[in-house]
């Protein structure tokens, strides 16, 4: 066991896990089981040792290592060890743990692109410092053979560095050119290559000016921008993947030999699947056995649970509430209704992909301008002097001065600062242009169930019941795991009522709970079963003996911060719209409660998407906030979208921003921060433009020495970065 506990184990899986696995193969059957647990509550050195000690004390665990930054434990275990056992072990040791889907996390583990960029950045930084040192000597007056030698040494350092570090720019420029487009990387590559080329030529003629330092500093600053950009996106991506990985796609399939746990991808049509109470339907199918109630709020927005019995069709994503169900799969994987929704999303999304980011817009103006300017300078000087060398030198100087060094940093530095600030407030920015799009939003559309409401029902009419009824209801409700019962039980005990003695309590899945109180049968459950009347609200009925049944009505609890958010948005002049798939009375009551005057009820997924489309066509920029499957198309079609972390995977994928905490209040922060961020980006653009306006005439006039080029470039980059940091 200790052999695999070497510190190197997770530090470099490729080089040390392989021999460890080989050593293992001699002892046990070789099967690479890797369990990943999420540990949201760990924060200190003691937690690390505690978790690692608890895990490695288990037989069957070969090695465990905690990553505090990601709050995860990576465990190498024997095949018979299950994640559930380890979660229990950690729970007993006092650490909250959740299983993560190891295959979904694979992608983040090897962040090769990030390490690659970092390496290129380090090489460029090293070379830039050395070449700068040599250049300082030249600027301060070295001449003759000394200057030539310094230039040659600079060239020896610069050439291999450019060949290695500037590759990403060359590659992007090449793909853009081949597609017949111009992007920011084309002027960058051209400037670097032209600068190095003319400098080499100059040096070989023992000329005065060489731009090796400029070419390398340029590469360094631009790579820094790229790296910042990459890191922001990687952090958001890994957090989003962790959310997805929390839903382990494993189902229990019924076979002739009994039940077995299989991965969702292994299911085929006709398989019998058992879904426990509290579980989510993994596939579309038909109920063959069992009775229960289904919560369909994520699919349709209805808050009222519906009855489920044999013969009924269920769709993936519905939640089974009370009794175990057996389902025959009729559609699996990509064919389920959950996935069919993806088509709708794809159609809606095509609208958003037309958005061009500010940086792209700038590049479109900028790239041709720079090339024309530099070509004009070259042509002008050539006609004036008929000296190819001078003309080429000046063209290179113009390209270096105008090279979008500050522009390349202007956007990533701001988005990194803004994303970091929003992440601390519990918002995860998934899309690169999300901030820019959010800054333009003027209309906010909310979904009701699960977004503005917490999705947990709350009893509303306890005052209408006698103390005796409440005690009986409490006794019955305590025995049930149904969400309505649990909420009712908490509400009644909070009111200080003690349960009556009710015997023989049985829960009848799909209907309710039943017991015997002082010789009378007492029932708490659905209207049709108990004998209650009609009601528009979500209701549980209580019947004591032969007395007429009385209703307990429920109302969805408003999510934390929802009221404050709506008020804040209305104050700030946003148009607020409520759109729900729930029944008209329920939506109307809710809209009145929050003071929202525009609302739409009983909206189908297509209706929601169409409504968003219609608003967009009227010139509004819509921010959609929703969590359900019925919202996905609208989320994808809106100008920007936010979904809470509790939303279905499909909804989270379709939205730009994921809200990690329980409160809705950060949404207002997101909107204001995005506005500030865009203001900073524009400021940065104008700072960079001013530098160009001052320096370009110098370059065209042939007055720009390498010293001026270096100074202009560095100061503009640093000013831009500092301006971005003001956002933090």
């Amino acid at each position: 066991m200790t052999a695999a506990m070497r510190p190197g184990m997770s530090a470099c899986p490729a080089c040390s896990a392989a021999p460890a696995a080989e050593a293992l193969a001699d002892v046990t059957a070789p099967q690479d089981v890797n369990i990943v647990l999420s540990l949201p509550s760990i924060h200190c050195a003691a937690c690390i040792s505690g978790v690692e000690r608890a895990l490695s004390a288990q037989d069957g665990v070969l090695g465990a290592r905690v990553n505090l930054t990601l709050k995860r434990a990576q465990i190498e275990a024997l095949p018979d060890m299950t994640a559930a056992t380890l979660v229990d072990v950690l729970g007993k040791a006092g650490f909250e743990a959740h299983e993560l889907d190891a295959t979904a996390l694979r992608a983040t583990e090897t962040d090769k692109a990030g390490r690659d960029l970092l390496m290129r950045l380090a090489v460029a930084g090293f070379a830039a410092m050395n070449v700068m040192l040599l250049s300082v000597a030249v600027w301060s007056g070295a001449d003759g053979p000394t200057r030539d030698m310094f230039h040659w040494i600079s060239a020896a350092i610069a050439l291999p560095t450019i060949a290695f570090s500037a590759q990403p720019f060359f590659k992007h420029a090449w793909t853009a050119l081949r597609a017949g487009r111009l992007n920011m990387d084309v002027p960058i590559s051209l400037a670097i290559l032209l600068a190095v080329g003319t400098s080499l030529w100059e040096t070989s003629l023992s000329g005065k000016h060489a731009y090796f330092d400029a070419a390398i500093t340029l590469t360094f600053f631009l790579l820094a921008g790229r790296y910042l950009d990459h890191r922001t996106r990687a952090a958001a991506r890994s957090a989003a993947e962790e959310l997805a990985a929390l839903e382990v796609p494993r189902v229990s399939r019924l076979t002739a030999d009994g039940e077995e746990q299989v991965a969702m991808s292994e299911l085929s049509i006709g398989d019998l699947i058992r879904v426990r109470p509290g579980g989510r339907m993994p596939v579309d199918g038909e109920i063959t056995d069992g009775q229960s109630e289904l919560d369909r709020s994520l699919l349709t927005g209805e808050t009222r649970p519906i009855f489920a019995g044999p013969g009924q069709i269920v769709s993936a994503g519905e939640v089974n509430l009370t009794g175990p169900l057996t389902i025959r799969a009729s559609a699996v994987g990509r064919d389920t209704s959950l996935h069919r929704m993806a088509d709708l999303v794809a159609v809606a999304e095509s609208g958003r992909s037309r958005y061009t980011s500010l940086a792209d817009k700038a590049a479109k103006l900028y790239a041709p301008g720079v090339h024309i300017l530099s070509a004009l300078a070259f042509a002008g000087w050539y006609i004036y002097t008929f000296d190819l060398r001078t003309a080429l030198n000046i063209a290179a100087a113009v390209l270096i001065i105008t090279c979008p060094c500050a522009l390349g940093l202007a956007v990533p530095a701001v988005t990194t600062a803004a994303s970091g600030r929003l992440f601390r407030k519990g918002l995860l920015i998934k899309d690169a242009t999300a901030l820019e799009r959010m800054a333009q939003v003027d209309t906010v559309v909310f979904d009701k169930t699960g977004t503005l409401t917490a999705g947990t029902p709350q009893a509303t009419n306890l005052g209408d019941h006698s103390r005796r009824d409440m005690s009986i209801a409490l006794a019955l409700a305590e025995g049930s795991s149904h969400p309505l019962s649990q909420s009712l039980a908490t509400a009644i005990s909070d009111a200080g009522v003690k349960p009556e003695r009710v015997t023989d309590i049985t829960e009848i899945p799909g209907f309710g709970a039943q017991g015997v109180w002082k010789g009378h049968t007492v029932r708490l459950g659905r209207a049709s079963w108990v004998g209650g009347g009609e009601s528009h609200d979500t209701t549980a009925w209580l019947k004591v003996g032969d007395i007429e049944a009385t209703p307990f009505t429920f109302e969805d609890q408003i999510r934390d911060g929802a009221e404050a958010l709506v008020k804040q948005l209305q104050q700030d002049g946003f148009d607020v719209v409520l759109m729900s798939g729930d029944t008209t009375p329920a939506v109307e009551a809710f809209a009145n409660r929050l003071g929202i005057s525009k609302w739409v009820a009983e909206a189908l997924p297509e209706d929601k998407a169409e409504k968003v489309q219609a608003l967009t066509q009227d010139g509004a920029h819509v921010l959609m906030v929703g969590d359900g499957l019925n919202d996905t198309a609208a989320l994808a079609g809106a100008h920007a979208s936010i979904s809470p972390a509790t939303a279905l995977d499909a909804a989270r994928v379709a939205s730009d921003v994921v809200l990690l905490g329980g409160s809705l209040e950060p949404v207002a922060d997101a909107l204001s921060t995005s506005r500030v961020a865009i203001r900073r980006i524009r400021q940065n653009f104008s700072i960079a433009t001013w530098y160009n306006i001052i320096a370009v005439p110098l370059a065209v006039a042939g007055l720009c020495s390498p010293l001026i080029a270096a100074l202009a470039m560095s100061t503009s980059s640093i000013t831009v970065s500092l301006n971005a940091l003001r956002l933090r």
Binding site: M5, A11, A45, I48, L68, F126, N130, L134
Partner: protein, 52 residues
Amino acid sequence: MNVLAYLIPVSLILGGIGLVAFVFTVKSRQYDDPEGAAQRILSDDYDDKPKS
């Protein structure tokens, strides 16, 4: 000026050592868990003997 013949290689080599050290730390994934590394030094689990 002859001193340059020594100084330039010396500065290059020193910088190069730094670069190689940095490349090594990236390759051996020492930036994967910066917070964990900062906390682990406080744990006294392996004070008496190294983790074997």
